[in-house]
């Protein structure tokens, strides 16, 4: 379409170009580029399934315009670690059963990572608050809290918050 414009997005450390109209959300653009680890649950900012890090801060990509993310550092769940080199949150979510259906998991881990970068030892209240925009329908959050706390400890001890 004529209103399409190219935008270069830096995603998980690589530059990729999306050609999209100015009203296209970052969620749609990322999924269009194949980053389907970014999930869509509402397109209204109500579910956090679409969360990505932008310059280290968790944001709902469905409320962000793709063009506005140009030149910024975008990290999706896949960008945090790989199966061979798991991020501590990925490891703890996997091993402690914090993912059931797993659909909230990308957003949940991104929100947790965003928190732990700012606050390596969150209190229970701080943790709950940080995840309050990420509803999960399967887990009751119990194992999610356990997983974030376990990962936080690993990250504190490694001194390398990744």
């Amino acid at each position: 379409m004529s209103s399409d414009k190219a935008v270069t997005l830096r995603i998980n450390g690589h530059d990729e170009t999306a050609t999209v109209p100015s009203h296209r959300t970052l969620l749609e653009a990322l999924r269009g580029l194949g980053h389907v680890d970014v999930k869509c649950g509402c397109e209204k900012g109500d579910c956090g399934a679409c969360a990505v890090l932008i310059d280290g801060e968790a944001v709902d990509s469905c409320l962000t315009l793709a063009h506005s993310a140009a030149g910024r550092e975008i990290t999706t769940l896949q960008g945090l670690g790989t199966p061979e080199n798991l991020h501590p949150l990925q490891l703890s979510f996997s091993e402690l059963g914090a993912a059931q259906c797993g659909y909230c998991t990308p957003g949940m881990i991104i929100a947790s990572e965003s928190l732990l970068r700012k606050n390596p030892s969150p209190s229970e209240d701080e943790l709950r608050h940080a995840l309050s925009g990420n509803p999960c329908r399967c887990t009751g959050y119990v194992k999610i809290f356990e997983a974030v706390n376990a990962a936080a400890e690993v990250m504190r001890n490694s001194g390398d918050p990744k």
Binding site: C40, T76, Q78, S94, G97, G102, T105, R137, K143
Partner: protein, 771 residues
């Protein structure tokens, strides 16, 4: 903290992997964002679909003009009922009995009459989602409102607008036993109350989505998030192709809870793919999802209980009225669950249950975790507290005097074959609450208990079966093939664990292929807490057959008897002399060279029965039942009506854990679902129009609201599932809401009879009590 009293009750069986909190096979993919869901599949040249919905709940379609939409460049197809006359979709899950299906066919698109808000009028397929959306806006329609009915009581009155049938009554069930009059005559006190339960939305995080295409054999193939791939038959019938020319493939499902039990996007996708002969993708928006699948039935339950001063229930009369909404769907079955469970885990010899489901112009109701049993529990457990209060007896003691015990008949006269450990569950949960938190000023503390009975396995008159295939490869890895859908509870992983345990390989050496209606052996639905029970047993039988054949060859090679052979951790050895051992992979190679059959297709059959007696409801309804309890402590601010859940304990006899972490997870999630149901989740309708179609209006528990949930797992090893397991998916949720209600009543001294128990309802109840 977790208590398991296996050792106290049964000699501990030796398992290498069963019962351990193992990492599920699907976890790493989910935690790294590598797991593809149905919405993540794309195809070159695929079209994007949209559904156009009615915006009035009861109306006649006067005009539907799609010409402008059709003319829009990039629109490939727009379909209305005129383009597909007389197409309907069956909305029940067929059993195997050949019994006449429920009369539940629904028009796929509105022909003339709109029966609920959001009923589909037209389908669009376009080259891009933007064009599809533009086309949606170009469709013009005119709906002429006609009188509707939005309350089941109103819908039953003579002269009420007719939504379904001749009198709106879509199902009636009766259960009768003993002598009700004599029972009430023997009572010292009669307690009568009416409890109201609300609509509930499943609110799975993944909205309905699918991709359909026509393959090289002219098979309409649909990749979709569903709990039930067996709907391929209904979808094939709806589009007029033979059953073997329609294929439904699942994916890891982003939550189901019953909301993906009925057909959702499949029919639309099949029709559009058939029409356009191109791949078509349809993804529901969140609002579509709110409007596009059935809800939990709102039910009004009138309980009349006769009790003696020494705490015996002498009679129970229950009147149940369920809102089926605009179409029948699974209402008759949901209602049956409600009726069967009406007395709960208590022995009631003089019983009368009369249950009806009635059509209205509300959103249709259908399956939801707990499936009618939840609404019954919400009522019977509040009524137990009311009855205990009426005779001035401690509520735990009153329950103790009435529990069903192992070997007792339930309401239908059927004796569950497994253990009934309600008393243990209640006592352990109640004790685990520990010291009471003190009330302070306007903050009142209260405690509640609720016990529950919930079936696992589908209704036995549906003649349920499940199949699984297990084979072992030349390198010693194991393959399981089974149609079971994985809706997030670890269904596939538990099959892997069962095969691994029996054949003696490690979990990473097992791979499960599941959820494909034409390629994997059909396993039945992931509903009714049946997947582990049914498909787990099928996998167990298949794995055992493979193991037995391998063991014969191993015995010969290791110079022992087959009964002396053990298989564990990818090794086969003589049990009493582990030095005589070999790799399973080497054993398989020998077996292959001899032509030993290294795979097995097994079928597991649930008990088959006839329907219950239509007048007395006596007979067998389910294969078996699970029992559990929930204990809750709440703080209620009597100035604001605000409720905080302070302590939350769940105790369940799960029969046997297959994966401990997965069992805990089911209980945590079931508790959360139940807390939302009890306290905050409210679907508000105005003349059938849903006014809360988003997560900012429909409030489910967030990370801020959820208390810690302590689980107490009991293992009676008496269930019908593999290794004595029972189901836990639904039982986990059943006792939660009444425990909350009882805790609130305990805190504030008055009962709120209608859920959700919002601050406003609490405040009103307190006002009313103050006079």
């Amino acid at each position: 903290m977790t208590v398991s009293d296996v050792n106290e009750t049964q000699p501990n069986l030796r398992f290498s992997q069963i019962g351990k909190p193992l990492t599920r096979t699907d976890s790493p993919g989910k935690a790294t964002g590598r797991t593809p869901y149905a919405g993540d599949y794309v195809m070159p040249g695929m079209l994007h679909a949209k559904v156009v919905r009615a915006d009035i709940a009861s109306a006649r379609l006067k005009r539907l003009d799609v010409s402008k939409a059709r003319a829009l460049p990039g629109v490939v197809c727009v379909l209305t009922a005129q383009d597909m006359p007389d197409r309907t979709i069956a909305t029940d899950i067929p059993g195997q009995t050949g019994r006449a299906k429920l009369k539940t066919d629904q028009q796929i698109l509105v022909k003339e009459r709109v029966r609920y808000f959001g009923e589909p009028l037209a389908l669009i397929a376009a080259e891009t989602p933007d064009i599809a959306e533009q086309a949606r806006r170009l469709i013009e329609f005119e709906l002429e409102p006609i009188p509707g009915v939005y309350d089941p009581e109103e819908a039953m009155k003579p002269g009420a607008p007719i939504v379904q049938g001749t009198d709106n009554i879509v199902a009636t069930h009766k259960i009768r036993k003993g002598d009700l009059e004599a029972g009430f005559a023997a009572a010292d006190v009669i307690i009568e109350n009416t409890y109201i339960t609300p609509f509930q939305e499943h609110a799975f995080l993944e909205p309905e989505v699918g991709l359909a295409w026509i393959d090289e054999n002219e098979v309409i193939t649909i990749r979709v998030c569903t709990q039930v791939i067996e709907h391929f038959r209904a979808v094939a019938d709806a589009v007029g192709v033979p059953h073997n020319k329609l294929r439904v493939m699942g994916a890891m499902v982003g939550g189901g809870f019953g909301g993906k039990e009925d057909v959702t996007v499949e029919t639309y996708l099949a029709i559009l793919a058939q029409k356009t002969r191109k791949p078509v993708r349809l993804e529901f928006t969140r609002e579509d999802s709110f409007l596009g699948h059935g809800k939990r039935h709102p039910i009004k339950l009138k309980y009349r209980t006769g009790v003696t001063r020494d705490g015996k229930i002498t009679a129970l009369d229950v009147q149940v009225l369920a809102d089926a909404g605009a179409y029948v769907y699974l209402s008759p079955y949901v209602l049956l669950y409600c009726a069967v469970n009406a007395p709960g885990p208590y022995r009631v010899d003089n019983l009368n249950v009369f249950a009806q489901a009635v059509a209205t112009n509300n959103m249709f109701s259908s399956a939801f975790r707990g499936f009618g049993g939840i609404q019954a529990a919400a009522a019977y457990e509040q009524q137990m507290d009311e009855a205990a209060n009426a005779i001035g007896m401690d509520r735990i003691e009153f329950r103790r005097r009435n529990y069903l015990k192992t070997g007792d008949p339930i309401s239908t006269g059927f004796v569950p074959p497994s253990a009934i450990w309600t008393e243990k569950c209640v006592d352990l949960a109640w004790q685990a609450l520990g010291e009471p938190t003190p009330s302070k000023g306007p903050i009142k503390i209260g405690r509640g208990i609720a016990a529950s009975q919930q079936s696992y396995g589908r209704l036995t008159f549906l003649h349920d079966t499940s199949e699984a295939w297990v084979g072992i490869e030349m390198d010693g890895t194991v393959t399981v093939r089974s149609g079971v859908t994985d809706i997030g509870a670890g269904q596939a992983s538990s099959l892997a664990q069962i095969a691994a345990e029996i054949i003696g390989v490690t979990l990473p050496n097992v791979n499960v292929y599941n959820s494909d209606s034409q390629v994997t052996p059909l396993a039945g639905t992931s509903t009714a807490s049946r997947a582990l029970y049914m498909t787990g047993n099928a996998a167990r039988l298949a794995a055992q057959a493979v193991r037995d054949r391998l063991a014969v060859v191993a015995a010969e090679l290791l110079k022992a008897e087959p009964a002396q052979i053990s298989m564990e951790f990818n090794q086969v050895f003589v049990t009493d002399d582990p030095s005589r051992a070999m790799d399973i992979a080497d054993l398989v190679k020998v077996c292959a060279s001899r032509g030993v059959h290294r795979s097995e297709l097994a079928i597991f059959r649930a008990p088959f029965t006839d329907v219950l007696d239509p007048e007395t409801g006596q007979g067998q309804a389910h294969p078996d039942y699970a029992y559990g309890a929930q204990a809750i402590e709440v703080a209620v601010d009597i100035e604001t009506g605000e409720v905080t859940v302070l302590k939350c304990i769940a105790a369940h006899d799960v029969g046997q854990c297959i994966n401990r972490a997965a069992v805990d997870g089911q209980i945590h999630g079931g508790t959360q679902n139940g807390l939302g149901y009890a306290l905050s989740e409210e679907m508000l309708y105005k003349e059938g129009r849903l006014i809360t179609p988003s997560f900012s209006e429909y409030l489910m528990p967030t990370a801020m609201d959820m208390p810690h949930v302590e689980t107490i797992i009991l293992e009676s090893r008496s269930g019908l599932g593999p290794f004595g397991a029972k189901g836990i998916g639904e039982p986990a949720m059943t006792p939660v809401a009444p425990a909350v209600a009882n805790a609130i009543a305990d805190a504030i001294g008055v009962r709120v009879f209608e859920m959700p128990i919002t601050p406003e309802r609490i405040w009103r109840a307190l006002e009313a009590a103050r006079g």
